[in-house]
Symmetry: C3
Subunit: 159 residues, 3 copies
Amino acid sequence: MSETKKTTIVLFSGEYDKAMAAYIIANGAAAYDHEVTIFHTFWGLNALRKEELVSVKKGLLEKLFGKMMPRGADKMGISKMNFAGFGPKMIKHVIQKHNAMTLPQLIDLAQEQDIKLVACTMTMDLLGLQQEELIEDIEYAGVAAYLADAQDGNVNLFI
Amino acid sequence: MSETKKTTIVLFSGEYDKAMAAYIIANGAAAYDHEVTIFHTFWGLNALRKEELVSVKKGLLEKLFGKMMPRGADKMGISKMNFAGFGPKMIKHVIQKHNAMTLPQLIDLAQEQDIKLVACTMTMDLLGLQQEELIEDIEYAGVAAYLADAQDGNVNLFI
Amino acid sequence: MSETKKTTIVLFSGEYDKAMAAYIIANGAAAYDHEVTIFHTFWGLNALRKEELVSVKKGLLEKLFGKMMPRGADKMGISKMNFAGFGPKMIKHVIQKHNAMTLPQLIDLAQEQDIKLVACTMTMDLLGLQQEELIEDIEYAGVAAYLADAQDGNVNLFI
């Protein structure tokens, strides 16, 4: 059958290496003509944050969360051997050395390939993140939209 | 076809936020009439522990494990920004502020929605957890039962 | 229908307990006649390293990575309660006590059951791991091969 295959990934984790894995699989699947969605929830939302500080009105706790969480993909730590930020530098160094793609480049490629990037509105609420703080051309949805994509999917992953 | 969709989640992780994600997806799927199973293994078993201390006969090592692991969903730490327990307080605070559900409430809802909560007997053995220490109305099974559910599933996740 | 079921697991994590969970599910699925693949990427590659030091030519950074990462399944830490290596000792102790299988035994069993063990060539490159450093009888492939397996799979997990 010529039915389109579907890959749907929940990106829960806020680490550079896990987000890389998610985006590598997603971009690979898109290259194989899958319909691909990455649903960013909890710490995975940080991959979608703009690098620059966006001034929005927030409560104290939300400000605190905003300060403590990395602003954008490039600032995320890694899940192993982070060594207070030295690990990510090493990883980025070997990525460059091997002509592989950095996480921000993988996210750009995902958008070029029309991968649907979704920000989970419920956890945006909890963490006090607002739409102005996230990158352009993404969608906003909740768990119902995720399930609608996932239930007919071929590859479903939680990362 | 009017076949029932199936969602099967392995909850391996013992963190409050990851367990929240698992139970939010599970409750969402049940609301969409999926047949839902959460298979609790390793640290995910802690979400099923009773809050009160249950006196059961145990070896020294099993006692030690029992002491070191959180007693119930409410006591679990979070996977990022835990800050020696301050992080979970912040999360619970924002949950309340946004009228979202806490993890114990999500577990109650799951039971009301007839989500099948399973405790992995093999890892209960390894961690020295006994049935008396876990909440009521759950099932006990091993990897074979998990696979029987998962192999016909639509949404399979490992969290 | 008599179609063969498929289980495809991405093992991203480098922890003993998570790798155990992956290999227990994989071995269970193989026992149920699934066609099973474990695709080792990032820190999950460490489960495939030989225990002995293999002398290969490497750059400085690759040498450093090689030194910092555990050499083989038996040396991996655990994801909770690691306590500077005391946790893994406790886990191995209870595994023995309950006549359960250790991770190296689970990997042997996987190979006996013809589970396809794949090492992700892209992350081998990034982490500077060479084929001589990994155990025998495994395959080498990239994300395209993973997707080819996963897209027709019944149970797809990211661990």
